[in-house]
Structure formats: C-alpha cells, structure tokens
C-alpha cells in the first residue's frame, strides 16, 4: 500500500477545515479504505473532539516526533470504524515543536500501512501551514461563500502553487441555498470563477454538522443529512468515481437550472 497524503487547508480560520477532515477521513474509512488523520494544529487541537476520541489520548504527534513513544502508541483507533486512526496534536506545545521534514518522515512511515493520510492544517500561512503542506500529495482548500474566506483561499492556492503542490482542489463549505437564491451569498459560480481551481465538493449548510461535531459523531455517518451525503460524494470523487453534484450542489454551469428544479421540488 502506498498512501496518498491529503492536506486540508483554508488560510482563514473557522471555515470548517477540521469538520471537513473528520468527515472526509471517516467517509473514506466507511468506504473500506485504511485511513489515518493527523491533527496539525499543535497547541489548538480539536480534531480529537470532532471525532469523539478526546478522552483516549495518551500520546500525541510531538511525542512521536521527539521520540517519547512509538508511532503505534500515538495512533488512536476509532471506536466505530475499523480502519480509521487519529494522531492527535499536542495541546501544550506550539507549531515550532514540529518541522516540515519531521512531517515528511512521519508520513513516509505511515504510507506503507494506509490508503489515505488526511492532515488537518492550522489556520494561517506560517510554520504550521508549511508543516502540513510539506508531505502533501494533494491539497484540498476549504472556503465559505464569503468574500474574506475566498480572498484567503486565493492566497493559500497561490502559496500551494508556489510550493509546487498544486493544483489544489476546492471544497465550498456551508452554502446556504436560501441566501444564494436571495442574492445575499456568493454563488458557487462566483467563487469558482475567482479561484479558478477544480471543485470537488459543495457542502450545504446543515445544523446536523454542528450537532455531530459537538457529539463527536461526524455527520458523514448520518444517512439522512444532506451535508453527510455531500461529504460521501467528496470521498467517492477522491476515489476517482464520477459522482454528479447533488441537485443542491449542482455544477456551477448548471446551477441556475437545477437550483430552480430543487426549488420546485421543495414547494
């Protein structure tokens, strides 16, 4: 096995990187792949909470890198899915505890055993970002349909290109169709138009996402949630399947027409 390393990043904080990592990792594992996710946000860890594995942390990423434990000991096995693991971040240290080449070495060790390594990148463009980017084979940029988030995503995409890790793929998170229809929110079309990279997912705004994060159950497990379905679609696309975008998340070119259809169905 030779794992593919996916780094999930955004530039701006609070757009849903960690939620995306948890759901994509869980979704890939649900699909039968062996997945490990790494929380790169040293000092501000929360991937463990979103995955519901908080109280099982003994060792963390920094312990592995500084040789206080073996890699195996820091890997927390998920309770629900057999092949999902988490390497949590240290909470009491900061980004400088890890270097980009540490991350490359760590991922090279993990590559042999897994299909996917998903790295949660911290907000910002400093050391933590470079740590998370160094081992990446593929970069997913998460953004919200909001001008400031899109501006930061644009900056990040430029940096990813500069490091020769591109082209990045785009996930548009928290799209509120009601607001798009009223013209109060950037449309997926607007965002893709500016960023000019390939779209791999549009995640609708869904209360269940927050509920899931708080309960430590990623929404991808919820068969009824539209956001869950959107995440499952992203995973299928990562696996090379050609999944059409959901009605709600129609491809930008078809957006208007399918948006109308959806509105018709809802009424």
């Amino acid at each position: 096995m030779a794992a593919k390393v996916i780094t999930v990043t955004s530039g701006k904080g609070g757009v849903g990187k960690t939620t995306n990592v948890a759901n994509i990792a869980a979704g890939l594992a649900l699909g039968g792949s062996k997945v490990v996710c790494i929380d790169g946000d040293i000092g501000l860890r929360n991937l463990d909470v979103v995955l519901g594995l908080e109280n099982r942390i003994v060792y963390d990423l920094v312990d592995v890198i500084e040789g206080r434990c073996r890699l195996r000991q820091a890997m927390i096995k998920d309770k629900r899915i057999a092949d999902l693991y988490l390497i949590p971040a240290a909470q009491t240290r900061d980004k400088t505890a890890v270097s980009p080449s540490d991350m490359v070495r760590l991922c090279d060790q993990l590559r042999l055993e897994f299909d996917w390594i998903v790295i949660d990148c911290p907000a910002g463009i400093e050391r933590g970002f470079r740590n998370a980017l160094a081992p990446a084979d593929m970069v997913l940029v998460v953004t919200n349909p909001e001008i400031s988030a899109v501006r930061d995503a644009d900056r990040i995409i430029g940096l990813v290109e500069a490091e020769e890790k591109g082209p990045a793929l785009l996930i548009l998170n928290r799209v509120n169709m009601e607001m798009v229809k009223r013209g109060d929110m950037l449309t997926p079309d607007d965002v893709v138009d500016l960023l000019a990279i390939e779209l791999i997912g549009i995640i609708p705004e869904d209360e269940q996402v927050l509920v899931g994060s708080n309960q430590g159950v990623p929404v991808v497990f919820d068969q009824k949630s539209r956001a869950g379905q959107a995440f499952r679609n992203v995973c299928a696309r990562l696996n090379g399947e050609n999944v059409p975008f959901m009605e709600l998340e129609a491809r930008p070119a078809l957006f208007g027409r399918l948006g109308k259809l959806f509105r018709g169905a809802a009424n």
Binding site: S99, P100, S101, R127, R130, A134, R151, D152, D154, R155, I157, G158, L159, E161, A162, E163, E164, D190, L194, A196
Partner: protein, 230 residues
C-alpha cells in the same frame, strides 16, 4: 557529502539581517557549507534573519523551500534571496521572500532613469498565470499578464501593464515618472489603480457586470477609462 566541495561563506550584518555571500561552487555545496556554519555557531545564528546572495545560481522552488525549511529547523529564518538569475528571483517571489535588502526602495532605481517615454530598452515581463492574493510583481519595464489579477495581488511597473484577463487587484503603472503609461485589461475592476503619481477614481462596479476590454490612461491630470471598442 563526499562530492560536496567546501564553499567559502561570508557573513556580514546589514540593517537588521545577516547577509550571506558565497564563494565559487554549486548551490548544494554552498547550502551545505552554510548549514555547517550555522550548526557550528548556532547561538550566533539562532533567531536571526538571513538574506542570502546566491549570485547567478538557479534555484527551483523545491530547492529554495528545502533550504528555508532546513534553516527554520535551526531557528533561523530565511528573509530574502538576492540573485542575478531571473528564475531564482521569480522562485523567491513565489515563496514570498524578499529579493532585495531590507529597507531599500524598489522604485528608487526607476526614478534614476527619468525617462518620460515608455522605456523601450527595458525588457517586458510576461507572466502566464493568474496572480493571486498576496503575490506582488515589481518590474521596471512593461508587465503583461496572461491570466487574472485577483483582489489582493499587486503589480508595480515602470512601464505599461496589460492584463489579458480580469484585473481585480491593485496596479501601479509608469511608477513615479511615466505619465504616458497605460493600463489595459479585458475586464477592468481594479481595487486600486495608479499611473505615475495619479491615483484613479475607480467607479464601484457591480459584481459580474461584463463591460469588456478597457484602457486606462492619464488625460488632463486624471486617470480616465476608455472602452477598447465603442
């Protein structure tokens, strides 16, 4: 390490950074020699900002990124790269590194020239990609971009600026001395536009409004926008 030759490394303090210059030798040897030096005198280097003069050596993004990471692992930050190679300068810019010494004004060299016509002898710079937020292009001649200039990106040119795409970032043409400079774009929606010393009053335009190609130039001390085709 057997094939590495020892390259002389000279270090001096400039402004608030350390300027590193190398003797003869290829890049990998120069890099290794510098890192050796940093390791040997870590207390001196730690927390320092380096400006490295690589002279004519050609560095790709991977080389420079690795070099920066190796330094940062030693607690030293790579602040800038000085070079005579166009490739290396471009790489440094893409990685967000300075390409001149801290404190030196980029446009000073332009004003020395004092020409009022477009600098015909100047090389034009052709950029075939989208300029994204945070990217800055400075060039003493003309600049042509085939791609978009996104909000947050910046172009500073001594001559004209032509954007074969949407111009939504900020642009300064004919910096300081050349009021005859023009700015052209397929879609003109700059956040900031300046020709020589004159700042344009850019009308706030509706998002997604297609206006078509326009040209900005100075007319009676004001920047005006004209449609390419009436």
């Amino acid at each position: 390490m057997d094939t590495m030759q020892q390259v002389s490394v000279e270090i001096k303090g400039v402004q608030n950074a350390l300027l590193v210059t190398f003797g003869e030798g290829d890049w990998l040897s120069a890099e290794a020699s510098l890192l050796q030096r940093v390791d040997a005198q870590n207390a001196f280097f730690k927390g320092g900002r380096l400006v490295v003069d690589v002279a004519q050596r050609k560095l790709k993004a991977a080389d420079m990124g690795k070099f920066r990471d190796l330094l940062s692992e030693r607690g030293v930050s790579l602040w800038g790269v000085l070079t005579t190679s166009v490739t290396t300068r471009e790489t440094a810019r893409r990685l967000g590194l300075a390409t001149q010494l801290p404190g030196s004004k980029p446009v000073r060299r332009l004003s020395e020239r004092r020409s009022t016509t477009p600098q015909e002898q100047e090389e034009a710079l052709l950029i075939r990609k989208t300029l994204r937020s945070g990217m800055k292009i400075e060039h003493s001649g003309h600049v042509t971009v085939i791609g978009d200039v996104n909000p947050g990106a910046e172009i500073v040119a001594g001559g004209d600026v032509v954007v074969w795409g949407r111009l939504r970032g900020s642009v300064s043409a004919g910096v300081e001395t050349n009021p005859n400079a023009i700015v052209c774009a397929m879609e003109m929606e700059p956040t900031h536009l300046r020709i020589a010393d004159t700042i344009a009053n850019v009308p706030a335009r509706r998002r997604g409004e297609k206006r078509g190609p326009e040209m900005a130039s100075i007319y009676k001390n004001e920047v005006i926008f004209r449609f390419w085709k009436k």
